[in-house]
Symmetry: C2
Subunit: 346 residues, 2 copies
Amino acid sequence: MATASDGGARPRSRPAVLGDVAALAGVSAMTVSRVLNTPHRVRAETRARVLAAVRELDYWPNSAARQLVTGRSGVLGVVSIDTTLYGPASTLYCIEQTARLSGYTVSIASLSALNRRSIEEGVHRLRSQSVDGVIIVAPHESAADGLRHLPPDLPVVAVDAGEDIPVPVAMVDQRAGAIRATRHLLSLGHETVWHVGGPADWIDASGRIEGWRGVLEAEGRSVPEPLRGDWSPRSGHQLGRRLAADPSVTAVFVGNDQMALGVLRAMRESGRRVPEDVSVVGFDDIPESAYFWPPLTTVRQDFREVGRHAFHLLLDRMAGDEEGERRRLVEPDLVVRESTGTPQRP
Amino acid sequence: MATASDGGARPRSRPAVLGDVAALAGVSAMTVSRVLNTPHRVRAETRARVLAAVRELDYWPNSAARQLVTGRSGVLGVVSIDTTLYGPASTLYCIEQTARLSGYTVSIASLSALNRRSIEEGVHRLRSQSVDGVIIVAPHESAADGLRHLPPDLPVVAVDAGEDIPVPVAMVDQRAGAIRATRHLLSLGHETVWHVGGPADWIDASGRIEGWRGVLEAEGRSVPEPLRGDWSPRSGHQLGRRLAADPSVTAVFVGNDQMALGVLRAMRESGRRVPEDVSVVGFDDIPESAYFWPPLTTVRQDFREVGRHAFHLLLDRMAGDEEGERRRLVEPDLVVRESTGTPQRP
DNA sequence: ACCGTTCCTGTTAGCGTTATCGCGAAAGGG
DNA sequence: CCCTTTCGCGATAACGCTAACAGGAACGGT
């Protein structure tokens, strides 16, 4: 034993283990374990002695050993697409914050590609690190296939996913957001509303299109063919030019704020004033939106709330609730700024 | 044994362990372990039999057991401030990508506050999950104190940190970026350059101020008092108004792109044209910058490169290189767009 | 006085993996 | 042909912790 030759415990080389603490406190290893896990089951005086020894030796439990015997690791996995994007980054951030409060650590696996294989691989990487559960942030249609073929014994929930998948889902109600944005524009007096949407296989993009189309149809307005961008300002700019060239366009609902930025620029370049000639609404409410020119009317998504919901759904799942909630929707808010107004007819 | 009553191995309830594979392949557990860790030390034929059994049973090693005996977990920790910010998010993303290629998983600990205690707590959380090493992303002066009081036996590197700390550092050369931005403005013919900087205790903010001031002093120009914002568009807007009110201001170097956005808006609101009346340079090159109005001249930081460097520094550290590199700087690039030009004197 | 009960602590036996040593067989060297 | 060396594999003993049981002491009710 190294402890013997240490002659006390001062210049310890090897980190202290349970046995060292037990020896110093004059109790069994089991009692030390109990002090750490179920303190109320140990006499106050003994507990104090053990805790003193813990502090003296600077003892910290070995998570691997604990995990080996309990079967739980206290680690959650998050499989996510590009965490550089505002939405996923915010969601991840909030998942971590929430998880921490409940004593969980979060491990991540970012995806470069997005398909069944990459998702399986991401889940697998985390699983082989023995995570207790996994949250998947992959808002793509193509991800659904991955979500249907998960290891059956691993608790999983998804953020932003379609309707017909076998895991619980937390997400912002995209339809509701699109409905609010579109109604807002109609209520200002616009004949109809054009749409610049996100890429075809994004769940969010589809939801927003549905909501937008639904309102127009319900109100009996003409439904222009939606344009599809790739979320980037560049694509918004390109598509914005097409819309700017059409004088009948007076209101545009854009799928996210970054593309809306591109649209704003395209309008300006084409000499169409916002909001006098054309009204523009975005989606997301990124921190920059309020400082666009003009400040952007947009739909705010509470990603923090989504993260919280996802975590709690997962917690239910890990507790074994097979019949828990299957879907938690977060209501988005319309933030009206200066990029929308009553159309001014010549 | 559950295996016995399983009657084969088809409807397994309990996940397979090493012993199950060994039994099926007709070898000892140790041989299976060798096939997985040092395949070349096993006869090809035996190896094939074992691998077949591994596939048949869908065996995956238990990381906790492995870790318990080897002492290594294959997990890296990243302690970071708000990973919603573009810089930290990008860095984190790239650390994860790089780490994955070397077989490491990444666990995260975001900080809400930033001081010695919060950093120690973050490092501690990860450490108690037995990470093999930690990367700290905390670009604050106040973090330095935390960096000086780390557990001595844990490999740690930092991203964005001051000069006098005892761990290796990877970062963008902020001074160099500021120097390029300032020289660019002077070369266009501006008398001097104003500065809107980040919060006082941010390392990056200090570096940018130093670079900016250094150029002005070297060129014998007057050095205006720098203004300090908080990185947000809002603060850039407020400070931009002050600058817009001063007709002698013709060039502004702003500490990040978001504040630059606010400055652009303030200038416009005050009737000062960019770049005809005032030139503006930002820092970061966030994806939106090219679509600001006007498109923003800015300094691009390659966060991906920073992430890569940080990981490799940590790898050296974990290999035991006490005397490895201590500082890796990444050169930033000036991206000239349309927010800068020759001052037009009346 | 006796018999549950409750409280507190210890003993034993793993959890699933790899380090280490050992042994027989095959291979190389004189 | 004998003596080393290498190769391929197995037996055993940890790694550090907790589940499960066991047992003694103290307590209260009959």
